[in-house]
């Protein structure tokens, strides 16, 4: 970057700060296509890993592509709504929330695994709960932790099946309900007995089991939910206007053709398959049913 451009950028930051007004730096950046992604496991070195994905998209789309790391679903949705990012790798629920806020936006592609995603209910062995075909009634009165508040596999779906099974909300079923904030934390907290029962993304559980982070003598899966659609790529509706006709289709193709293992490992998914907004209607209905979304 030339020194001059660097200075002008610094000046514009200062000016926008002092005047608290918007500086139209748009002209310089309008052609950059920006995306964000919050993977469901291993959030470390995001910039490095997704920088490679940006380079791949750059090559496929013929426009400059940047990646912004974001840590919370709320921040990702805000960035999508503000048009700071045009493409985002959302969870099932956050995708529905984001697309509701941005008319015309659509789900482009989902991970192969996301067609049939599921949640494991896990319990500390000391809680004495026997695994069952349905949610064991013995979990009543125990302590329980969800993952993060906006998570599909760690919050939405487990809460839905809890309500379906017991006819009441988590606060009435359990003696205490926490939000660990993350699937790895959920496993760590249930394994240590801090919470007796938890709900966790199955793929995080499987990979931690493989890596030896899970001690099967201390914690076990007690029930698996039916499958549901989860993570997906969502794109804003106005990208064709901004980046040229057929841009959205190009993005979809680029995503579906992404086959390098080192790129796919960032998500981590084995491949991407087509998806549509309708695929997520069950998620939206579920969110409405438990009161996480308004009508």
């Amino acid at each position: 970057m030339s020194i001059l451009r660097c200075i002008s950028r610094r000046v514009s930051i200062l000016r926008s700060l002092l005047a608290l007004t918007f500086i139209a730096s748009a002209a310089a950046q309008a052609e950059t296509f920006v995306f964000t992604a919050i993977p469901d496991q291993d959030e470390s070195h995001l910039q490095e890993r997704f920088g490679k994905v940006a380079a791949y998209l750059n090559e496929q789309l013929g426009v400059e592509v940047s990646y912004i790391p974001v840590k919370s679903y709320a921040a990702a949705i805000t960035a999508f709504r503000n048009n700071q990012v045009q493409l985002a790798w959302f969870g099932g629920l956050s995708g529905v929330q984001a697309r509701r806020l941005v008319p015309g936006s659509e789900a482009l592609a989902q991970g192969f695994e996301d067609q049939l995603f599921k949640t494991y209910f896990i319990a500390n062995k000391s809680a004495g709960i026997t695994p069952g075909e349905s949610l064991p009634a013995a979990i009543k009165g125990k302590t329980f932790t969800f993952g993060s508040k906006g998570s599909t596999s760690g919050r939405l779906m487990p809460e839905f099946y809890l309500r379906q099974q017991f006819g009441s909300g988590p606060e009435e079923i359990f003696s205490r309900v926490g939000f660990s904030g993350d699937h790895s934390r959920t496993i760590a907290q249930v394994q240590s007995g801090a919470y007796q029962v938890g709900a966790v993304n199955y793929s995080v559980w499987e990979s931690e089991l493989e890596e030896g982070k899970v001690d099967p003598t201390k914690v076990q899966v007690i029930w698996t939910t039916p499958t549901y659609p989860d993570y997906q790529w969502s794109i804003r509706g106005d990208v064709d206007e901004r980046f040229g006709d057929g841009f959205k289709a190009k993005v979809r193709d680029a995503l579906l053709n992404m086959n390098k293992p080192e790129l796919l490992a960032s998500f981590p998914r084995q491949s991407f398959v087509p998806a549509s907004n309708d695929d997520y209607a069950p998620i939206e209905a579920t969110a409405k049913a438990i009161g996480l979304l308004d009508e």
């Binding site: 470390s44 960035a79 503000n82 508040k149 926490g178 904030g181 007995g193």
Partner: protein, 503 residues
């Protein structure tokens, strides 16, 4: 409230007043103990705790440049925020006698930096501006309040020598500001340390500061990386006094502006108008559907506001009193007159660790030890805030060593602790505790992992659920609570500030 006041007024001796305030606080904490939920669960934390311990003693970071960059971003945000917030706070402090200013300051202080971050993100995207404003706005409120109180404690005589026709600005410029200059600058230095913490924490929502990596490392159980980040942060805080030199400030200012992270992709199309005209108002209100609005309000009050308010007040009350206990137990180990010039360093190190470790990390470790309840929340808040106040108290004690108050025949050891240091430090310590009340209130927002539903917990949920109408109402309630607490603590402090002044 009225009884409190009468109770305070009836006391004549300032020492009695102090005792009265303390008894009242402790009594309230005991009452809170009855209502609060302190269940201890049997847990098996040692495997996870040993991993954490191992990570702390074997810190490791593969990519040094990213660590360094995060460190520099953290400093840049904190530094620029203070450079803007301190003068703004000073201006507002001059108008602090005016009630609307006081209320405005109490309101902006009551919202956690993370929530300010999410609010400004609607307007400025994920950008340096968002990060800076998220610190500047609440810090301006804090500066205004504390500066105003510093002015109150000054002797009124110099200002009486200025002709009455001289304006308020002259009065401040020629008497009050010079009089209180050492206090103002030392407080600003201390606030810079707080800004570094806030700046680091803002990484949790995506700004490229230390918290960005710390949260990830901690969440993923990569404790060696978490250890490296914690050590880096401790080192940063511990060395402030070596690198923050007044004459270096212009240089730092330029460097900090240079260091601000680049904004990617945001073109100023923020949804400000959408946000203030639509998002923060409930649908029922926008549609004029009064019965639905009634239902919404009843639901919010019954399910979130009232239970959140009760939990928040109970936890905060106990945490404040426990913080005081932590101060009384830890500060002697860090004060030179009590621990000696060499032995105070382990004590100072302990206080550094307590005040620099983010509460989220403390809360997680305590959760592993005690299981989920109000107990880890209260302990985390008390350890963090107690460590912070103990550091200030120990500093005040050390500063006094050079003053005229020191006598060769001063007692030593436990007698000095009981009869000299603690009584002298006590009014100041109480004042710090009253400040921290509202900080504790704000920080209770992060206690969601403990299953403790405070007001902050519901605000956090509302942001996660993209329900800004709920977030807005809850923030208004929190702000009102903060204003009430602020005026109560002002009144209580008034009862012993005269003690401070005669000192």
């Amino acid at each position: 409230m009225i009884t409190v006041r009468r109770f305070l007024i009836q006391q004549e001796s300032t020492v009695r007043k102090l005792n009265g305030v303390c008894l009242l606080m402790i009594g309230a904490a005991f009452l809170a103990l009855v209502g609060v939920d302190f269940h201890i669960y049997s847990v098996d934390p040692w495997e996870e705790l040993s991993r954490i311990g191992l990570g702390l003693v074997t810190p490791g970071w593969s990519d040094l440049s990213s660590l360094l960059l995060a460190l520099l971003h953290t400093i840049a945000f904190a530094f620029l925020a203070i450079v803007v917030a301190a003068p703004l706070g000073l201006l507002l402090a001059m108008a602090f006698g005016w009630l609307p200013v006081r209320l405005l300051c109490a309101a902006v202080r009551s919202v956690h930096e993370l929530f300010w971050g999410l609010i400004f993100m609607q307007l400025f995207g994920i950008s340096a501006t968002t990060g800076l404003l998220a610190i500047i706005v609440p810090f301006t409120g804090v500066f205004a309040k504390v500066f105003a109180e510093i002015f109150e404690q000054q002797s009124p005589q110099p200002s009486q020598t200025i002709p009455p026709s001289a304006g308020i600005l002259k009065r401040y410029a020629y008497t009050l500001i010079p009089q209180s200059w050492p206090a103002l600058t030392s407080y600003t230095r201390y606030r810079f340390e707080c800004a570094l913490r806030s700046s680091a924490i803002l990484g949790f929502i995506g700004l490229p500061t230390l918290g960005f990596h710390l949260e990830t490392a901690f969440k993923q159980g990569q404790y060696s990386e978490a250890g490296a980040l914690l050590w880096a942060f401790l080192l940063l805080i511990a060395t402030i006094r070596f690198w923050l030199r007044p004459r270096m400030i212009p240089f730092y200012l330029i460097a900090a502006v240079w260091m601000l992270p680049e904004t990617i992709g945001f073109s100023g199309g923020g949804s400000l108008w959408q946000f203030i005209s639509v998002d923060i108002w409930p649908v029922a209100l926008r549609e004029g559907n009064w019965s639905a609005l009634g239902d919404w309000s009843v639901m919010m009050f019954g399910k979130q506001i009232w239970p959140g308010l009760v939990q928040t007040l109970l936890l905060t009350q106990i945490a404040v009193v426990l913080s005081g206990l932590v101060v009384l137990v830890t500060y002697p180990f860090a004060a030179q007159s009590l621990a000696g010039p060499i032995m105070r360093w382990p004590g100072r190190f302990l206080l550094l660790v307590l005040r620099s470790t983010p509460e989220m990390v403390l809360a997680f470790v305590l959760l592993l030890l005690f299981g989920p309840s109000g107990l880890p929340a209260v302990l985390a808040l008390a350890l963090h805030n107690g460590g912070l106040i103990a550091f200030l108290v120990a500093n005040a004690s050390d500063a006094e060593r050079k003053s005229l108050l020191t006598r060769p025949d001063d007692p030593t050891g436990i007698k000095r602790y009981a009869y000299v240091e603690t009584p002298r430090r006590f009014p100041g310590m109480l004042a710090f505790l009253f400040y921290r009340w509202e900080v504790i209130l704000r920080e209770s927002a992060i206690m969601g992992i403990l299953g403790v539903a405070t007001l902050g917990f519901y605000i956090d949920s509302a942001f996660e659920e993209i329900r800004y109408d709920r977030a807005f109402l809850l923030i208004v309630v929190t702000a009102l609570l903060n204003m009430a607490v602020d005026s109560l603590s002002r009144r209580m402090r008034g009862s012993f500030s005269s003690f401070n002044r005669t000192k």
